[in-house]
C-alpha cells in the first residue's frame, strides 16, 4: 500500500482524492497483492468487519457515489422519494463499478436499503449478497444469543466464499486490530474537540473515510502517523460557534459542504459522519467467546444511532449528553433527503433541544449536490444569530 506523505496537508489531500475515486484503486491494489483473496463491500451503517477480516478478506465500506456518477439505471428502478445513496449504490453495481466486490452485505437499517439488497441480488446474480438482521430488542439476553447465531450464519457463507476457516484465534486478533482502529479514531476526535483550529473537520473526515477502502492495519499506521504530527501543528482560532452535527450517519454530505460549514463559522466539535467506523464506545473484549463478545458489544456498548434501537437509553437524551460533553452551543442536523430514520428522530431531538434551550439548525442535503450557496447563507445566518445575540 502506498505510504502517505509525511506532510499533513498532502496526506489529507491524498485521502480526499481516494474517496472521490469510484474505481476503488486501493481495492484493486489489494487484490493484486493477495491473489485469489475476496473483497466484501458493505452498505452503511455498521457491519462486523472483524469477521470479514478474520476470514482473510478485505471489508470495504461503501458510501454511495457522491456527485461522481450520473444515474442511468437506478432512477427508473427506485423512483421518487428514495434517498440518493440507495440509487447511487445500485448505479455503481449496474455499471460494473462494484465488480471488484465478491460479496455485498446489507443490514436492518431502513426499508429502502433492505429492498435494495434484493434488487441488487436480482440484477447481479453472480455475486454473494447477504442481509444481516441486527437486533432491535435490547432487553435481556435473547438478542445476544440471536446475534451470535446471525454472525455464525454469516461466517458459514464467508468460509464457503473464501475457502478459509475462521478460528476463534483469528477473530480475537481481528477484534484487537479493529479495537486499535477505533481507539486511534477516538484520540483524533478528542484532539479535534480540544484543538479544532489544529485539525479541521474535513481533514479528520477524509482521513477516517479513507479507512473504508484500505486494510485496517494500513489505516492504523496512517492514523498513528497523523497523531504523531498533530501536536506540532499550529492553527488560528476564529470567531465561530461550536456545534455538534447529527444525521449524517449513512449517506454522506459532499465534502465541500463540510468545508462550507466550517468556513461559514461552525467549529464542529462532534459529528456522526461514517458512524460505523466508531460504532463502539468501548473495546470489544478480546478474551472469551469472540462472537458473544461482538454481539454483547453491539447491544450494550454501541454508540446511539437512528438505525439502532435501544429504548433503555433514548437517543434524544444521548444527544444532549453529546452536546454537553462537546461543550457545543448548538446542533446542526445534516440530514440526507428522504432519510426516514433521521427525519423521524428529528421530532424528539427537536423537542428535547428546545426544552434544554439549545439552538439547532435543520439542513437537508443530497450526496450529489455540488452548489452550496444556500447552505452557506443559512449557516452564516444561524452562526451570526448566535455570535451576536
Amino acid at each position: 500500500m502506498e505510504v502517505l506523505s509525511s506532510n499533513l496537508e498532502r496526506t489529507f489531500d491524498q485521502c480526499a482524492e481516494l474517496l472521490r475515486d469510484l474505481t476503488f484503486p486501493t481495492v484493486a491494489a489489494w487484490k493484486q497483492e493477495h491473489p485469489g483473496a475476496k473483497v466484501i463491500g458493505y452498505f452503511p451503517v455498521y457491519a462486523p468487519s472483524e469477521i470479514i477480516h478474520a476470514c482473510g478478506m478485505l471489508p470495504v465500506a461503501l458510501h454511495g457515489a457522491g456527485d461522481g456518477l450520473e444515474l442511468q439505471h437506478a432512477d427508473a428502478r427506485f423512483g421518487s422519494f428514495i434517498c440518493s445513496i440507495v440509487k447511487s449504490t445500485l448505479e455503481l453495481a449496474m455499471t460494473d463499478r462494484l465488480a471488484q466486490m465478491d460479496g455485498l452485505l446489507f443490514s436492518t437499517i431502513c426499508d429502502s436499503a433492505r429492498n435494495l439488497a434484493w434488487v441488487i441480488k436480482r440484477n447481479q446474480p453472480g455475486i454473494y449478497v447477504d442481509f444481516l438482521h441486527l437486533p432491535h430488542n435490547p432487553n435481556g439476553t435473547a438478542s445476544h444469543v440471536f446475534l451470535a447465531s446471525e454472525y455464525r450464519r454469516l461466517i458459514g457463507h464467508l468460509e464457503e466464499l473464501s475457502g478459509n476457516k475462521i478460528t476463534d484465534e483469528a477473530l480475537r486478533n481481528s477484534i484487537a486490530i479493529y479495537n486499535e482502529n477505533r481507539r486511534l479514531l477516538t484520540r483524533l476526535y478528542d484532539f479535534r474537540m480540544e484543538h479544532p483550529e489544529r485539525l479541521r473537520t474535513w481533514e479528520l473526515y477524509v482521513l477516517m473515510r479513507a479507512g473504508n477502502f484500505i486494510p485496517v492495519e494500513t489505516h492504523n499506521e496512517w492514523l498513528r502517523g497523523v497523531l504523531e504530527e498533530l501536536p506540532g501543528r499550529t492553527g488560528k482560532k476564529r470567531d465561530a460557534i461550536r456545534v455538534v452535527i447529527e444525521g449524517s450517519f449513512c449517506e454522506q454530505p459532499p465534502l465541500d459542504l463540510i468545508k462550507v460549514m466550517e468556513e461559514a463559522g461552525c467549529t464542529i466539535a462532534d459529528d456522526d459522519f461514517i458512524l460505523g467506523r466508531r460504532w463502539f464506545n468501548a473495546d470489544i473484549p478480546v478474551e472469551g467467546d469472540p462472537l458473544m463478545n461482538m454481539a454483547e458489544s453491539y447491544q450494550d456498548r454501541s454508540v446511539y444511532s437512528s438505525v439502532r434501537h435501544d429504548f433503555r437509553n433514548p437517543r434524544h437524551k444521548q444527544l444532549l449528553e453529546k452536546v454537553k460533553h462537546a461543550k457545543a452551543q448548538a446542533v446542526v442536523f445534516l440530514t440526507a433527503k428522504f432519510c426516514e430514520p433521521a427525519c423521524f428522530d428529528y421530532v424528539l431531538f427537536k423537542r428535547e433541544l428546545e426544552a434544554a434551550k439549545i439552538p439547532h439548525l435543520p439542513l437537508e442535503f443530497e450526496e450529489k449536490a455540488y452548489t452550496f450557496d444556500r447552505f452557506r447563507m443559512e449557516v452564516e445566518t444561524f452562526v451570526e444569530s448566535l455570535l451576536f445575540e
Binding site: 422519494f81 429492498n115 436480482r122 432487553n139 423521524f344
Partner: protein
C-alpha cells in the same frame, strides 16, 4: 370500450363487517373512559392478536386509525399538525396522521381512543414501526415492548430465528400478565390459536374463490373490508362466524355465476396499498373498465395464508413466531414478493399487474421500478405503474392516474391473450431464484 359501471356487488357481509368494526370502536371508547379492558397498541403486519385474546386485552391498531381518518377524508389536518411538530414531508403519513390525531384528540369514529397500556411494537419488516411506537410510547407515556422479528433473509426461518422470537413472546406474556392482572392460561391461548386457524382456513378458501371466472369479489377492495375482522376478531369465535358467512356468500355467488361486476372484463393483480383518501375514486376507475383484482399483495400484510400456513394449536408460540417471520408479505424479502405476484398472475389467471407506488411506504415501494422491469421485460406481463399516497391527499393526482389507467385498459383490450406457454417461456429467462412461496417445512393444518 369502457363500461359505465360504477357500482359493484355489496352483500350482507359488508354490513356485518361495519357492525363489527363499529362495535370495536365502541369498546375502545369504553376502554378510554373506564380503563377496561386495557388496550394494547400493535401493528397489523404479522399481528399476534392470539396472545391479546388469551388475556381479554383490546387491540388498538394505529394503522387502522390512520386509514379510517384518510378514508373519511380527515387525514390532512392531523398530518399538518404532525408536520408542525417537526415531522418531515417525507415521513410516512400514516404515522403523521396517527400522531397528529393523538396529540389533538381527533378520532376517526368521533369517540375516544384509549391510551395504550402497552405499546407493543411487533417489528415485522417495517422499520417505520420502530419509530412510530417509540413516539407513541413517548407521547402517551405508555410502556414499550419491542418484539424484534428477524427479517426473512433466507428461504425459510432458521431454528435460531424461531427461538429468538419465541423467547421474546415468553417475555411478552409476563408483560401482558401485569397489564391484564390475569395469569397466563395455556388452554385459552390454544383456543385463540385454534380460532385463528379456522379463520385462516376460511379466509384462504375465500381467496382461492377469486380464481373463478368471474371472481365473486374484488381481492383488493373487498379484501380490505374483510381485513378489519381478520385482524381484530381473528382469534375470537365471532371472527370464525364472520368468515363462515363470508365464504358462504361468495360460494353462493359462484354457484349463481355472479361476479363483482355484471361483466368482468379484466382480471388484474394489485401490488401495493390503496390511496385511502381517494378510495372510492380509485375503485371507480377500476369499475369503469370492469376490471377486477383477483389477487393483491396488500391483503397479505397481516398474514399470508392462501399458500397453506395456519397457526398450529399444538405449538402455539412457534406458530406465532412462524406467522411473524415467514407468513406475511412485509417480513418476506423483495424477491419473494415478486414470486408471490408471479404465482398470482399465473394461478389466478390475471391479464396484467398494477403496481401502486405509495410515497409513505418505502417497505412496499422502494424498488417497484425494478419490479416493473421484471414483470414487463422478463415475464412479458402487461404492467401499469401508478404513484400516489396511502394517507396524504396532497399526492393524489386524479386526472393523471385516470389517464394512465384508461390507457392501460384500452391497450389491454387490444393485446392478444397470453397463453400459459408464453407465461412459462417468460419465466424461464428470469434472474430470480425460484424460491417456493411456501416453505415445505411449514406446518399445514389438515
Amino acid at each position: 370500450m369502457a363500461t359505465s359501471e360504477k357500482m359493484e356487488y355489496r352483500g350482507q357481509i359488508h354490513q356485518l363487517q361495519k357492525d363489527m368494526m363499529v362495535e370495536w370502536y365502541q369498546k375502545l371508547n369504553e376502554s378510554a373512559l373506564t380503563g377496561k379492558p386495557p388496550a394494547v397498541s400493535l401493528m397489523i403486519s404479522g399481528n399476534c392478536i392470539e396472545l391479546l385474546e388469551a388475556f381479554d386485552l383490546l387491540p388498538l391498531y394505529p394503522e387502522v386509525n390512520a386509514l379510517q381518518l384518510a378514508i373519511r377524508r380527515q387525514s390532512l389536518e392531523p398530518i399538518l399538525i404532525a408536520e408542525e411538530m417537526g415531522y418531515a414531508t417525507d415521513n410516512c403519513a400514516y404515522v403523521k396522521a396517527d400522531i397528529g390525531a393523538m396529540v389533538k384528540g381527533i378520532t376517526p369514529a368521533g369517540g375516544k381512543l384509549p391510551v395504550a397500556s402497552l405499546a407493543l411494537c411487533n417489528f415485522v419488516g417495517c422499520n417505520v414501526y420502530t419509530k412510530w411506537f417509540e413516539h407513541i410510547a413517548e407521547f402517551q407515556k405508555s410502556p414499550l415492548f419491542m418484539l424484534d422479528v428477524p427479517f426473512l433473509r433466507t428461504d425459510s426461518p432458521s431454528k435460531d430465528d424461531i427461538a429468538y422470537v419465541v423467547r421474546q413472546l415468553h417475555d411478552l406474556v409476563k408483560e401482558l400478565e401485569k397489564i391484564s392482572g390475569k395469569k397466563f392460561d395455556m388452554d385459552r391461548f390454544r383456543e385463540a390459536v385454534r380460532n385463528s386457524a379456522k379463520v385462516e382456513d376460511l379466509w384462504s378458501q375465500i381467496k382461492h374463490l377469486s380464481k373463478k371466472k368471474p371472481s365473486p369479489f374484488d381481492a383488493f377492495f373487498d379484501c380490505i373490508s374483510l381485513m378489519g375482522p381478520l385482524y381484530v376478531y381473528r382469534a375470537n369465535p365471532r371472527g370464525v362466524h364472520f368468515f363462515e358467512v363470508a365464504l358462504k356468500e361468495y360460494q353462493d355467488m359462484v354457484a349463481r355465476g355472479q361476479g363483482t361486476f355484471e361483466k368482468e372484463k379484466y382480471r388484474v393483480v394489485l401490488e401495493g396499498p390503496p390511496p385511502y383518501p381517494f378510495f372510492r375514486t380509485f375503485r371507480d376507475m377500476f369499475a369503469k373498465w370492469g376490471a377486477c383484482a383477483v389477487a393483491s399483495t396488500y391483503s397479505t400484510v397481516g398474514g399470508l395464508w392462501e399458500f397453506g400456513f395456519r397457526h398450529d394449536p399444538a405449538e402455539p408460540f412457534e406458530a406465532i413466531a412462524l406467522h411473524m417471520i415467514e407468513n406475511n408479505v412485509t417480513n418476506r424479502n423483495y424477491l419473494q414478493r415478486y414470486d408471490q405476484i408471479r404465482k398470482y398472475v399465473d394461478e389466478w389467471e390475471a391479464d396484467g399487474l398494477i403496481i401502486h407506488f405509495v410515497k409513505s411506504c418505502r417497505l412496499f415501494s422502494a424498488g417497484q421500478g425494478d419490479m416493473r422491469d421484471y414483470f414487463t421485460k422478463e415475464l412479458g406481463i402487461p404492467t401499469l405503474y401508478l404513484e400516489s399516497d396511502i394517507e396524504d391527499p396532497r399526492y393524489f393526482s386524479e386526472a393523471q392516474i385516470k389517464n394512465r389507467m384508461d390507457a392501460f385498459f384500452e391497450s389491454l383490450g387490444h393485446a392478444p391473450a397470453r397463453t400459459a406457454a408464453q407465461l412459462s417461456a417468460g419465466r424461464a429467462g428470469s434472474g430470480i431464484p425460484m424460491v417456493p412461496v411456501q416453505s415445505p417445512k411449514l406446518r399445514v393444518l389438515n
